[in-house]
Structure formats: C-alpha cells, structure tokens
C-alpha cells in the first residue's frame, strides 16, 4: 500500500509481506492495524510530553484520543503525520509504522508522508482563497489531476463527501474565510479528503462549533469511516462515545488505557480512566 520512502521500491516487498501477516493475525479481532506506535517518546527540549506510548489504530475505524488538557493528545496526533518536525525543540523516539513502514525511518520524506495523511485542526483554518481553490490546493500541489475538468470533479466530489456541496455550489469563487465556522470546518475536511488520504487526523474538530454544526461533522465522520482511517482528539466524552469504535485515554503523557469504546465507557479497567470519564478530574 502506501510507501513514503523516496526510494519507492526499497521496502515495498517487505512491507506487503508484513501486512499480510498482520492481517491474518488480527482478522479474528476487530480490524487491521493501520497505524502501529511502538514505545514512542516525545520531548520538547527537556520536557517529556509523551512517555512510552504503544498503540494500534485500526483501519477504517474511528479512534478517539481523550484525556485532560496538556496530557499530550495533540502531540501524539502530530507525530503521526510528522508535523512535530516543524517544531524546532521537538525530539521523537520510538517507531510509528503505517502499513508496516516506519515513518521515522531514514529516507522517508515527511512531505510525501503528509500527502497521504489528512489533518483537520481545532480552529477552522481555510486559506484566504476561494472555496474552490481551498479544496483544489492539495490536488494541485501534488499534481493529482491532469486537467481542469478532472480537478473540477475532484473538488465537487470532496465537497459532496464533506456535506458542503449544496451549500456552496453557487459560490465556489467566493473566499472560504467568508463561510460560517461550521461550514469552514467542513471545508477544511473537504480540503483534507481531496487528496484521497489513507488516514485523517482530527484535533478537536468540533471545539469551535455549535451543537448543530457539531452534529453535522459527527455524521460526516461516521460516513468517512467507510473509506478512511480516522483519529480524533476530543474533550467531549459524548462525542467520543458517539463517533468512535476505539478509545485511548491519555494522562500526563502516558497511554493509560485503550480498547473498544463501549468497554472503555462502561467498564474501564484503570481508576484514572474511570475518574476522568465520570468527570471527577480533568
């Protein structure tokens, strides 16, 4: 499947073999692990933000990261598309495998990696360009389309999948920043899926939205699950319960507990998880 190495062929045979093996093993559990983190440590200068986290993220499922503020959810999420590389002081140890390719291995180009992983941010951040240009941004820089009509159809499809098409089809040339907050966030989702990524990372995508817009985005996430592997960070227990199949609870940089969402919320093993989801701290 995906291969982010600049030397494209070097690892591929190896990778597929692993994937097959992995698939066979986990067939009787829930899904196939798309992303595997193995003892990841993240440091900001001296300060350790992620402590020895290992987690599997299943393919075509929604995985929710929950935990109190400052526990490292965003930091861990940003490890998956190597956005932490942009931060000067940040240092990462351990391995993160996507389809059994180590994304931190030598020769992996973070730019190519990111083109396979979409990201949606806490605050809607459309470019100060037209709605059309916002969605066309990714396909254009990656040369995914050959001509204008192909690009047009990619833009339309992405907007349709993001549930925004009907609202904006008559004003594609208007600035994306002129939309409402909820529409902007869906525009950002459309932008992210326009390059047809394998994984979508969402960092509190609904925290700036009202309940109606939130409900729309949640519906959307549920639909997107058909095609994409989704990781979502959220502060809302209800949201995690509604949209996710798997939940991971972070606390002070540790991954305390992870498992099927219904189990985590009904029958948590760890005292801290229980305290958090019942609102006793956080």
């Amino acid at each position: 499947m995906a291969n982010f190495h600049t030397d494209a062929l070097a690892n591929s045979g190896n990778g597929t073999a692993h994937a097959k093996q992995e698939g066979a093993k986990s067939a009787n559990t829930r899904g196939v692990a798309k992303i595997k983190a193995e003892s990841v440590n993240v440091f900001y200068g001296e300060n350790q933000a992620i402590k020895n986290v290992s987690v599997d993220i299943d393919e075509r499922q929604v995985t929710a990261f929950i935990g109190p503020s400052g526990c490292g959810k965003s930091t861990f999420l940003r490890c998956i598309n190597r956005m932490n590389d942009v931060i000067e002081s940040c240092r990462i140890e351990g391995r993160i495998l996507i389809d059994d390719n180590d994304i931190y291995a030598k020769g992996v180009d973070p730019v190519i990696l990111r083109s396979h992983i979409g990201m949606v941010f806490q605050k809607p951040n459309p470019f100060p360009k037209s709605i059309y240009e916002n969605v066309a941004y990714g396909p254009k820089i990656h040369g995914r389309t050959r001509n204008k009509s192909e690009l047009d159809s990619v833009v339309e499809q992405s907007l349709r999948r993001a549930g925004l098409w009907d609202e904006v089809k008559d004003r594609l040339a208007q600035p994306g920043t002129g939309l409402s907050g909820g529409q902007q966030q869906r525009l950002c989702i459309a932008r992210a899926i326009a390059v047809d990524p394998e994984v979508i990372l969402m960092d509190e995508p609904c925290s700036a939205l009202d309940p109606i817009a939130t409900a729309r985005v949640e519906e959307l996430i549920d639909e997107l699950r058909q095609n994409f592997t989704i990781v979502i960070v959220t502060h809302s227990m209800q949201q995690a319960a509604r949209v996710s199949q798997k939940t991971a609870f972070f606390h002070l940089g540790h991954l305390v507990e992870e498992g099927p969402t219904d189990r985590i919320f009904t029958n948590p093993e760890d005292k801290r998880t229980q305290d958090y989801i019942t609102g006793r701290f956080g």
């Binding site: 000067e88 730019v111 990696l113 990111r114 083109s115 979409g118 951040n125 100060p128 941004y137 820089i141």
Partner: protein, 459 residues
C-alpha cells in the same frame, strides 16, 4: 532672559498654588464631608488656573510688544525724518536705533537718534515690568477664584481632566497646523510661480533649462520650465532602485521569516536594519566612489559608454538603501500570517517553498504592497544620492547609463546661491515641491490604507 525668569516664576507660584489647593481641600475634608475628588486634583486645578492664563498672557505680550514699541519709537522721531516713509525705510531707521543702542555706530549719531534709542530702551523696560505685573496679577486673580471654589463637593477631577485633554488637543493642533502652514506656503509660492509660467507648460513641457539671466544685459537662455524630464528622471531612478530593492528585499524577507533558524534571524535582521540607519550621504559616497567607476569599467569592457553620472549607479545604490524598508515590512507581513495557515498547508503535504508561494505570500501581499509603496515614496523623496551620483542635467532618456536628474535635486540646485524670491527660477522649486508633495502624499495614503485593510483581516 526675562521671559525665561517669568516662566520660572510662574511655575514656582503654580506649584505653591498646588500645595495650597491640596491643603485647602484636605481641611475641607476634615470638616467632615465626603470629597468628590482627591485633594491632588484640587491642587492641580488651582495650579492650572494660575499658570495657564499667566503663560498665555505672557506669550501674547511677547508676540506683540516689540511691534508696538517699534512704532512708538518711530513716532517719537522728529516729523521731518519720518515724513512719508514706507515699511522698508522704517525698518532701516529701527536698525539704526539698534546700532545706537549697542554702540556700534560710525561716527557721532544724530541727537534725535540718541533720543530715540533712549526712548526705545525705556519703553522696553516699562513693557517688561508691566508684563511681569499683569501676568502675575491675572494668574493670581484666576487662581484666587479657583481657590475659593474648592469645597468637598467641587468636581475638581473633571475640571482638571477637561483642562488636560484641552492641552492634549492643543498639542496635536500645533502639529496639524504646522503641516497646514507648510502646505499653505508651498501652495502660495507655487501659485506665484504659475502666474509666471503656465501650469500646462510646467506639467507637460519637455525642456527643462531653468537658467535665467540674473542681470538685464547678461547673455543666457530665457529659461525653460518643462518639468517632464525632471519627473521622468525621478520615476526612472525610483524604478531602477525598486528593481534592485524589490527582489532582494522580498527574498531576504522570505528567507528570514520562513527558512532562517532563530539564531541566524536574530543576527541578520538587525544587520539588515542597520542599512536603514546609514546616512544617505554615505550611500552617495559609495555610489560616486565605488559603484559609478566600477560600472564605467565594466561598461568599457563590454563596449558600453557609461557616463560618470549614471541613473544606474544612483538608482542601484538607492535600491540598496531601500532594501531594509521592504525586507522588514515584508518580514512583518509574512510572520503575521497566522501559524494555523502554515500548519494547514504543511499538513496537506506542501513543501515549505510551496507554502510560501501559494499561501503565505498571497496572504501577506497587502502588507508587502504597503511596504513597497512606502519604499517607493522614500525613493522619490531621496536627494543626496542622486545629487552625488546621477547628475544635474535633465535628460529625457531611457538609457540607464546616462545621467538624469530628479525633482528633489532640481529643488536643491534652484535654491542654492543668491536669488530673490520673485523670479521663476527660484519659484520653480516650489512648483516642483508641490508636485512631489502631492504625489508622495497620495502614495502614502494609498499604502497606509492597504496596510490597514490587511491588519483588519487578521485581527
């Protein structure tokens, strides 16, 4: 000197008034009621009431007393001397009186001149004394009235605040009025010029030879005031300088904002800004002594005829001077683009370069344009480099290796030397100045508007 001592005296008394006001307000408090304003405000109220009228009267006095004393002195002269004299002659008489007073006369002055000198000195003494007395009296009167009003319920704070805001308004008015005065003088003198040389000849004429005969019988050109070559020279040099400054400034801004490590940035940014602090005359030396000869030599090597004074040398060096304006304003504009847009682009799998060219530059464009326009108006107003490196001859040419001249340079040369303010040569400077003023003002307003609009978008 006496005005200075009076000012000091007024200040001291005002301080005294402050202390008295505070004391009175305090004692009113002890009488048992609630104060509206803190005692300091009552004190300040009294101090202002003393100082403001006194200082105003003093300034008014100083402004008019000299004129009155002079006309009184003239009037005291015997009537056969003052019979039918005009302003200029009266001025000469007064200067004579001054010479007698300071004792620098040739030979024995006329007795009536002595009398006039004595009269002048005495009148001045009286005037000063009167000024002292009346200023202090007026101040005391006002302060006394204010003092009597101090009471617990007296709204001293509101009054003092009103006075202070009045003073602030006055300060800004002075700045604005000065500007208006400058514009007025410029328009007035230009008007005089345009009565001698028709506006359309000035604005559209192609020949600029402002030399006119100083004496009647002198053989010289009649003077031609077609300013197009001068305007062209200005635009041409500004264009050349922008061609140097725009790419270098913009690219260094992009480098500093997006690619440089924080360490490099903390070193390079101040160094670039030092460029802005170098006096333009030093750039002028650089242009004349280094750039122009080098251009000449290279020109010879490739068989080009480069003049000693060339538009290219002046424009190029001016461009270097302007780099920091563009780089620093563009850098601000680029770094002001929110972090979230950068992240969005990078997370889409864009490279840094793609992020710069497709997201950051378009988003920062208004700020960059604003910076560039400010730089252009700076280039248009620049004089020293052009005087030294581009020459004085107004040529309508497209060849950057020839010398051209600019508006500011022509203004300087027109005003240098002995010339009265009633011939077109001198007045032409004001015509040029007016055009320069209007165009740079327009540019600045335009640029500031763009910069403002851009600010609003991200706040």
């Amino acid at each position: 000197m006496t005005v200075l001592t009076l000012t000091g005296l007024i200040l001291v008394i005002a301080l005294l008034g402050y202390a008295m006001g505070v004391a009175r307000s305090r004692s009113a408090l002890q009488a048992g009621s609630v104060l509206h304003s803190r005692p300091q405000y009552s004190g300040a109220f009294v101090a202002f009431l003393f100082a403001l009228p006194a200082v105003c009267l003093m300034l008014a006095w100083v402004a008019i007393d000299e004129g009155i004393i002079r006309s009184l002195t003239i009037a005291s002269l015997p009537s056969d001397v003052t019979e039918g004299i005009d302003r200029r002659q009266a001025g000469a008489l007064i200067r004579e009186v001054f010479q007698v007073i300071s004792g620098r006369t040739f030979g024995e002055p006329e007795p009536y001149m002595r009398d006039a000198a004595a009269y002048y000195v005495e009148a001045q003494g009286w005037s000063r004394t009167l000024m002292y007395v009346s200023c202090l009296a007026l101040g005391a009167l006002c302060a006394g009235w204010g003092f009597s009003r101090i009471a617990p319920e007296f709204r001293a704070r509101n009054k003092v605040e009103a006075i202070v805001s009045g003073l602030l308004v006055l300060a800004s008015c002075i700045a604005i009025l000065t500007t208006v005065g400058i514009i007025g003088a410029l328009v007035f003198e230009s008007w005089a010029f345009f009565t001698l040389v028709p506006v359309n000849e000035f604005l559209f004429g192609l020949n600029w030879e402002p030399q006119i005969p100083i004496r009647e019988d002198q053989i010289a050109g009649a003077g031609a005031f077609g300013a197009v070559p001068v305007f062209w020279g200005t635009i041409f040099i500004a264009l050349i300088s922008m061609m140097v400054a725009l790419p270098i400034g913009l690219f260094s801004a992009i480098y500093l904002a997006e690619f440089a490590s924080p360490r490099v940035r903390t070193i390079v940014k101040p160094v670039l800004e030092i460029l802005a602090g170098i006096p333009t005359i030093v750039y002028g030396f650089f242009a004349v002594l280094t750039v122009a000869p080098a251009l000449r030599r290279y020109g010879e090597m490739v068989g080009l005829d480069v003049a000693a004074n060339s538009a290219l040398a002046a424009g190029g060096v001016m461009g270097i001077m302007i780099i920091p304006f563009i780089s620093s304003l563009s850098d601000d504009a680029i770094t002001a683009v929110p972090r979230s847009l950068r992240d969005a682009s990078l997370a889409m799998g864009a490279t840094r370069a793609e992020t710069v060219s497709r997201v950051l530059l378009p988003a920062a464009l208004p700020g960059i344009v604003g910076g560039v326009l400010l730089a252009v108006s700076r280039a248009i107003g620049e004089t020293m480099i052009v005087v030294m490196a581009a020459g004085l001859i107004a040529r309508l040419t497209l060849n950057p290796f020839e010398g051209v001249t600019t508006v500011t340079v022509q203004i300087v040369t027109l005003l240098i030397g002995d010339s009265s303010f009633d011939n077109p040569k001198t007045l032409a400077a004001f015509g040029l100045g007016l055009v320069l003023f209007i165009s740079t003002l327009g540019l600045n307003v335009f640029a500031l508007n763009i910069v403002k609009k851009y600010r609003e978008r991200y706040d």
